[in-house]
């Protein structure tokens, strides 16, 4: 992937280019001050962006088949286009879970049968679904689509003008990150080993896997002391990243509860949450632990792979949905004390082809869906506009059309200023 193609040194980008980039973006005729809602937004969404709290982004890598996750189960066009095992059923043993909705009266929208935890979150109004959402650009390439979404732009021409990711634009330069006496600030983290392109340009994002064995550098205190000395006065990319890593890792490590033996205590999730194994559960558990440390976390990023189901989709997709649904439910239960401060959004680079292929799979499509979860989400609703699945309603005659720009959803969470050049209407995703 060229997702990391723009890898201007992170700090340098911040100090030099980022502010200019924003200024140029807003020179294009859009009124508005970065961080301030413009008029259209003030009308549509009383709260244009989360001023406080944590936004958790769960990115489903590979193009999730959202037509199998939130399905128009009785739509005749849907039924005609797909082999029975590649769609959600309205009856029988594996029937989908009905969704009460006003998006499209007369269509029986159902969740995938493995998404029972999501059905429950939807019923208790914590979960909202935005269907037919995605990129307005027509790319069917994973890597172009992921790049566009992570930079927060609408088309490929804008990629060359946009160095930083949208999350980095939202967070600013991370200058306040680090230690001030005993007080630690960590504004961004990514679960796993790498930092996503959405955070390119934000200095000091901490990439962490699981916390079960702590984060101290290998080899004890001597290693930390040696590395500290080796990086001092060196301004190369490795030394700069090393300094950030040492500080961030040590700060988190010091905040992990320890038992009497000095070892990291096993994590005790709250609210009856049970995290299973798998990328989504592991990542979200780490996010929950960092949220509870109260270190000013604004953005947490969790990548979840396994959605590129060109072949043998039924079993693979069911497993992926089960893992995702249970992980989201566990996270929601575990963070119940923080529901007014934590909002989670789920997205993917595109949806998949309406018509299945002959490998028991689906190829790259266009429109997808997004989920929003949290105490501030006006949930229990399907939002957006349902375009229909008849041939003339499909994008290029083959794929679900996009009626809601993905930026409308994200802008409702972080404010429209993060998306220069985008001025679509708000969705009313969050409660006032």
């Amino acid at each position: 992937m060229d997702g990391h193609a723009l890898h201007l040194s992170r700090r340098r980008l911040l100090r030099g280019g980022l502010a200019t980039g924003l200024a140029v973006g807003f020179g294009g005729g859009l009124c508005g001050v970065p961080g301030q809602p413009n008029v259209a937004w003030a009308a549509g969404d009383p709260v244009a962006g989360m001023r406080t709290g944590t936004l958790v982004v769960v990115f489903l890598r590979g193009g999730a088949d959202t037509l199998s996750l939130m399905a128009p189960a009785d739509d005749p066009d849907y039924r005609a286009a797909r082999a029975p095992e590649l769609r959600v059923q309205t009856d029988g043993e594996a029937a989908g879970l009905p969704l009460a909705q006003t998006l499209a009266a007369g269509i029986d929208f159902r969740l995938h049968p493995e998404a029972a935890p999501l059905a429950e979150l939807y019923r208790d109004r914590s979960l909202a679904i935005v269907h037919a959402a995605g990129l307005t650009d027509g790319t069917r390439s994973h890597f172009v689509a992921q790049d566009l979404i992570e930079r927060g732009v609408g088309d490929e021409a804008a990629l060359t003008r946009t160095g930083a990711g949208w999350a980095a634009r939202w967070l600013g330069d991370g200058a306040a990150d680090g230690m001030a006496g005993d007080r630690m600030t960590l504004s961004a983290m990514a679960a796993g080993t790498g930092v996503p392109a959405a955070l390119a340009g934000h200095g000091g994002t901490l990439a962490v896997g699981d916390l079960d064995r702590g984060l101290a550098p290998p080899g004890g205190k001597a290693t930390a002391a040696v590395l500290d000395g080796l990086f001092r006065g060196d301004d190369g990319p490795y030394a700069r990243a090393g300094r950030d890593a040492l500080a961030g890792l040590a700060g988190i490590d010091a905040r992990l509860p320890r038992g009497a033996d000095g070892k990291i205590a096993p994590y005790a999730a709250e609210g009856g949450a049970a995290y299973e194994t798998g990328e989504a559960a592991r990542g979200l558990q780490t996010v929950a632990r960092l949220v509870k440390m109260e270190i000013g976390l604004r953005l947490a990023w969790v990548d979840v792979g396994g959605w590129d189901t060109h072949e043998n989709q039924p079993g693979r997709f069911a497993n992926a949905v089960r893992g995702l649904s249970r992980a989201l439910a566990a996270f929601h239960a575990d963070t119940n004390r923080f529901h007014d401060r934590v909002t989670l959004v789920v997205l993917s680079e595109f949806g998949r082809r309406l018509r299945s292929n002959r490998s028991q799979g689906t190829d790259h499509g266009h429109g997808g869906a997004m989920l929003a979860l949290g105490g501030r989400v006006a949930g229990g609703r399907m939002l957006g506009r349902w375009p229909g699945l008849a041939s003339h309603q499909l994008d290029r005659g083959v794929d679900l059309a996009v009626t809601t720009d993905y930026r409308a959803v994200l802008a409702g969470l972080v404010g429209p200023a993060v998306f220069p050049g985008y001025a679509g209407p708000g969705l009313g995703l969050l409660t006032a």
Binding site: R140, F143, T193, A207, P218, G219, V226, R232, H310, R358
Partner: protein, 520 residues
């Protein structure tokens, strides 16, 4: 040859210098060194052959209903085996212990590590790593794991320095790729587009040549009217997917009428699954009902010949061998050499040679962060370790972010610094060098006795390790940082043996954590 160039050659065209390599390169000169490295002879690689023979991997699992417990060490026997010998391991209907199913992948990883450290043909090893990422497959999938030894041997290594068009066909007909990008199940009627899309986007023309705004307006693609479209559109992907229908493997799939394919895992073409009607790919008309495989082969001809492929691959080689952002003129030169030599059997070798001999090859500021594989191999080579790969090392290397043959996305492992500088990745790489220096995974000990025949003061030990690992003069700041951090007095005597071993190994690890060793 100046020291900068020599260092660049040994760090980027090989997995780092062993003691004496820099002097040998100076004597031989770069052009002659390249002549030899670009025409490797497997019969003249005794050190690697010996190390591969001697390598043993442990395999361990509990008894089950259909098997008894195993806890033993095994040689790398799968490396020479054809795909049909290993294919039964991927059979989901057979009851088999998981570690047996993954063992062919473990052996391929071990062989990769052993060759990176010991092979005389270092440049081929560097390029094999490059091509494994370029034509990435994901061995987390069982059917890919058992096909990995033949993919590595008969596809990647065989063509790593050869002709790209031949390489493409070897990949397109390989068990590993047919499984990974699903072309094996692609049939006329509703073709599976996975392979065709990545063929254009990743393997050949590249995403810069994806003109998706023109989606279905092929005549509007610049150059299309002259039969030379500048880029590709979605319709090209759809049509190419049709061209490859029927390219599959013998995996026991039903053919209708009670017939089934054999179960060997080998490539086969099934005419009955092929969509034989006329097609249009890259503004070229394909007549209906061509000879078996002719449609797919013609697609490979078209993409291999395309100027965008020359630019994409020229740039990618420069990014691997030179810098994250190579100079435009270097990329243009590499692309031109690629295109001009596209009919030559040693096309790729010629491009690599041109890049290495370019004045931009070792230009200041062109260094990159070593990937974990480079970091490990370069430490083992410079440290004079009689290395052998072990299962324990593979397990930990897998967690370092560079899980060999284990990148799920078809892009392979990223080649840009940014990706390897995350805090979690850094912590893993510090652990990697520490574990190797301390021989935690029983991979072989550092040559302490060779480097320190006499007791030396701690400061001199730090300096000597710097000279040994980087081939450069010791930096006083590095020496100070290591002594201070370890709480060692500069004049404290250290010698191999009981109490000198631990600090001497630690010093080696810390020198390997310093910026000069971590970058190439």
């Amino acid at each position: 040859m100046n020291a900068t160039l020599s260092r660049a050659v040994l760090n980027r065209l090989s997995f780092g210098p062993r003691p004496g390599d820099a002097e040998a390169l100076q004597r031989e000169g770069l052009a002659r060194w390249l002549d030899r490295q670009l025409a490797p002879d497997d019969h003249q690689d005794e050190a690697a052959a010996r190390a591969l023979d001697a390598c043993r991997l442990s395999i361990k699992y509990d008894g089950g209903q259909d098997w008894s417990a195993v806890d033993e060490e095994r040689p790398l026997a799968a490396l020479d085996q054809p795909v049909e010998a290993l294919w039964p391991l991927a059979d989901g209907k057979r009851s088999l212990p998981g570690p047996e199913r993954q063992f062919p992948r473990q052996q391929t990883v071990a062989a990769t590590l052993v060759r990176a450290v010991h092979s005389r043909w270092q440049l081929r090893e560097v390029l094999a790593d490059f091509w494994h990422n370029h034509f990435n497959v994901f061995a987390g999938e069982q059917s890919v794991a058992v096909a990995l030894p033949s993919y590595d041997r008969d596809v990647i290594r065989r063509h790593a320095l050869g002709n790209f068009r031949e390489f493409l066909e070897a990949v397109a007909t390989s068990t590993a790729m047919l499984v990974y990008l699903n072309n094996r199940s692609s049939r006329a009627g509703s073709a599976n587009e996975n392979y065709a899309r990545e063929l254009f986007e990743l393997h050949s023309l590249g995403r810069d040549a994806y003109l998706n705004a023109l989606y279905d307006k092929w005549r509007a693609v610049p150059g299309a009217a002259q039969g030379a479209p500048r880029g590709y559109i979605d319709q090209d992907v759809y049509e190419a997917a049709r061209a490859f229908t029927g390219w599959t493997i013998e995996d026991g799939a039903g053919l209708g009428g009670g017939q089934r394919l054999p179960e060997t895992g080998r490539f086969t073409f099934v005419e009955g699954w092929h969509d034989g009607y006329q097609k249009r790919v890259l503004a070229q008309e394909f007549d209906p009902f061509q000879a078996p495989m002719a449609d797919g082969r013609r697609v490979l001809d078209l993409v291999a010949d395309h100027p965008a492929t020359a630019l994409h691959l020229g740039r990618k080689l420069c990014v691997r061998l030179v810098a994250d952002r190579p100079p435009d003129r270097l990329v243009a030169m590499a692309a031109a050499v690629w295109h001009d030599n596209r009919r030559k059997p040693d096309q790729i070798a010629r491009v690599v040679r041109a890049i290495a001999l370019s004045p931009d090859f070792a230009a200041p500021g062109s260094g990159k962060i070593k990937r974990p594989l480079e970091l490990a191999a370069s430490l083992l080579r410079a440290g004079g370790v009689g290395f052998t790969a072990t299962s324990a090392m593979i397990r930990d290397l897998d967690a370092s972010g560079q899980r060999l043959f284990g990148a799920p996305a078809p892009t392979g492992h990223p080649d840009q610094d940014e990706h390897w500088l995350g805090s979690s990745a850094l912590r893993r790489r510090w652990d990697l060098v520490l574990a190797l220096a301390e021989n935690r995974w029983k991979t072989g000990a550092l040559d302490l006795a060779g480097l320190f025949p006499e007791p030396v003061p701690a400061a001199a030990a730090v300096e000597r390790w710097q000279q040994r690992l980087t081939g450069l003069d010791a930096e006083p700041a590095t020496t100070r940082a290591i002594l201070d951090g370890m709480g060692l007095k500069p004049d404290r005597p250290l010698a191999p043996g009981k109490d000198g071993d631990a600090p001497l190994k630690r010093i080696a690890a810390y020198v390997a954590m310093a910026p000069r060793f971590q970058t190439r």
